[in-house]
């Protein structure tokens, strides 16, 4: 990856951020709420990109950590009565610890097996929260505590403020992850992805790198879950069901693996396409599934990669 490629990505990210802020200024109540949803999914998708795109660990259970972050926040604020400003970092920590523990087991297997294992662990979390009386079973928990942001004149109950905070969080996560992936640590993850035996032969502690990536990705997914719980003020097992893991994987692949900005784009495209299609037909998943299959078959570099290729060609031709 060249410096020029990095620059191109930052430019696209800046354009996405500008579009989000413009939308925030212009859109109405539900539009702003949708913006907040997209920004949260952008964080979620970028966290999965660290695993799938950079480290080469295709996870189909990433919603587990998204849901755990949300449930931890709900549990800590409603049951343990911990102030939300303290509960939010604790919830992210809980997601990170869970990712660490699941990671220890999951990274023992590779490739297709890793998909199956993560899928199984994700469904385990879903099965647990569905039956758990402590966490409200299928009904979930409503009334998640919200931090008092009156000092800076904001309130998470207001969709415009919620969207603003989610967008800022997404921008910060993008910057942080761009740094991490460009660091020696990030380069090692890519080395593990490209040729695991070579990385191992070079003396790289491959399993430790994988576990670190899995834990970090879980923590960031936990942050997305925390924000999701704040946005809807409600958590339920639906946050962890396998389709959530599946959809976020689709966002990452459709947007463009290993580019961070691609998955961000993928998240936005997915939500907008879903809203459009589900208004037209009750069988929107069929169309989305075919769209995804088409992307995997014909454009495996994703929408971002496709756009980058076209723009490279046009600048060369000009």
């Amino acid at each position: 990856m060249t410096g020029g490629e990095d620059f191109r990505r930052h430019c696209v990210a800046a354009v996405l951020l500008a579009a989000a802020l413009m939308g925030l200024a212009l859109l109405g109540y539900s539009g702003r709420d949708r913006l907040a949803e997209i920004a949260i999914l952008v964080i979620f998708a970028m966290s999965l990109d660290l695993l799938v795109g950079f480290t080469g660990l295709v996870s189909l259970g990433h919603a587990l950590f998204f849901g755990l972050g949300a449930y931890a926040l709900a549990g800590l604020t409603t049951m343990a009565k911990i102030p939300p400003s303290l509960a939010m970092p604790l919830a992210i920590l809980a997601a990170a610890i869970a990712a660490f523990l699941v990671g220890i087991l999951a990274i023992r297997v590779r490739g297709v097996f890793f998909i199956m294992i993560t899928l199984a662990f994700g469904q385990m979390g879903w099965a647990y929260f569905q039956r758990s009386r402590t966490f409200g079973g299928i009904g979930g928990i409503s009334g998640v505590g919200q931090p008092d942001l009156g000092a800076i004149g904001l309130s998470l109950a207001n969709p415009a403020d919620m969207a603003l905070i989610a967008i800022i969080a997404a921008a910060l996560v993008y910057l942080g992850m761009a740094r991490v992936t460009a660091s020696p640590f990030g380069r090692m993850l890519v080395a593990v992805h490209q040729n695991e035996s070579r990385a191992r032969a070079l003396g790289l502690p491959v399993q430790r790198y994988k576990l670190a990536a899995f834990t970090l990705a879980g923590a960031i997914a936990g942050l997305a879950g925390v924000l999701a719980a704040e946005r809807t003020n409600f958590v339920s097992p639906d946050l962890l069901v396998w389709t959530v893991s599946g959809e976020v994987l689709i966002m990452v692949i459709v947007g463009g693996l290993g580019t961070l900005v691609g998955p961000a784009l993928g998240a936005a495209v997915w939500v907008l396409l879903r809203d459009y299609l589900s208004a037209v037909t009750p069988y929107w998943m069929l169309a989305m599934g075919l769209f995804f299959v088409a992307v995997v078959l014909f454009a495996d570099e994703g929408l971002y990669g496709l756009a980058a290729r076209i723009s490279r060609r046009s600048t060369r031709d000009a």
Binding site: V109, V112, M116, M124, G246, Y283, M285, M288, L290, V293
Partner: protein, 290 residues
């Protein structure tokens, strides 16, 4: 738990295990041959069940459904093989897995579209509709039929794999596909035959499960997860792995529900985690380090 309860639960576990076996065996052997997992395997199970339901309602015959379900699943699998899988062989297994993953979404909505949202059921054949009593137990005859069918399929597959030419080709393909191909064995044809047989068995599982479990859009994912666990636990590529894995998971799930109901959904994941810790390549792996 007294002895009668224990025996009843053992039969329940055995019945669930045989259902899992019908699904896991196709996935597992195909994985051994092609290094690829068809995540839409559950979709074939669902399609088999729904086609079986339609045939059973038209003809009133369970046995017609039992023939039609596997046939439909095998035909769908064959179409899928020629339209997508075969063309994608060069692209590597991960891309194939992702395509099958997209097809899960397509499958669920296609079934909703054709058959609607409601839960359906196929009536057990009248000959098996009653309960039978033996050894002081009263147990539904249909569930005994599932156990017998699963055991019969396992025995036939075992004999087919050990005694027939196709079986020898499949074993060679699992052990070392490159050498097998260079010896002039048509590995591709064996792939195709095994893939279609696996799909047919998934469809068979769908019809067989229909009188006991519900037939509904989404039943595919409900069975896919435990099936994947069976494949992982048993170690892929082996008939015996699928069989013993299914038995272990079927029993663990059934007895887990009875003995520790608070963690009922949990047992099979705990077993999987334990097996992975002790033997990362499964209990009976075909190839080491794969």
């Amino acid at each position: 738990m007294d002895i009668a309860d224990f025996a009843t639960q053992t039969l329940n576990g055995l019945q669930y295990a045989m259902l899992l076996f019908l699904l896991a065996v196709g996935l597992s052997v195909v994985f051994g041959l092609m290094n690829f997992v068809n995540l839409a395997h559950g979709t074939l199970y669902m399609v088999g069940a729904f086609v079986g339901f339609s045939v059973a309602t038209r003809t009133g015959s369970y046995w017609a459904a039992l023939a039609a379900g596997p046939l439909a699943a095998a035909l769908l699998g064959a179409a899928f093989y020629f339209l997508l899988l075969k063309r994608m062989q060069a692209a590597g297994p991960m891309k194939q897995v992702l395509v099958t993953f997209g097809l899960i979404f397509v499958g669920i909505d296609a079934v909703r579209w054709i058959w609607g949202e409601d839960s359906q059921s196929i009536l057990a054949p009248s000959a098996l509709g009653e309960s039978v009593s033996f050894l002081g137990l009263v147990y539904p005859a249909y569930r005994l039929f599932i156990i017998a069918l699963g055991l019969a399929v396992a025995l036939l597959l075992h004999l087919g794999l050990e005694r027939t030419r196709l079986g020898a080709v499949v074993r060679a393909g699992v052990d070392d596909p490159v050498t097998a191909a260079s010896l002039g064995i048509n590995v591709d044809l064996a792939f195709f035959a095994v893939f279609c047989l696996g799909c047919a068995l998934a469809g068979l599982g769908g019809v067989v499960a229909a009188p006991v479990l519900q037939v509904y859009p989404g039943m595919d994912v409900a069975i896919l997860i435990p099936t994947l666990i069976v494949v992982v636990v048993g170690g892929p590529g082996r008939l015996s792995g699928a069989f013993w894995g299914a038995l272990l998971i079927g029993m663990a799930d059934t007895f887990g529900k009875v003995m520790i109901p608070d963690f009922s959904g949990f047992m099979i994941y705990a077993v999987m985690a334990l097996v992975l810790l002790l033997r990362p390549s499964g209990l009976l792996a075909a190839r080491h380090g794969s």
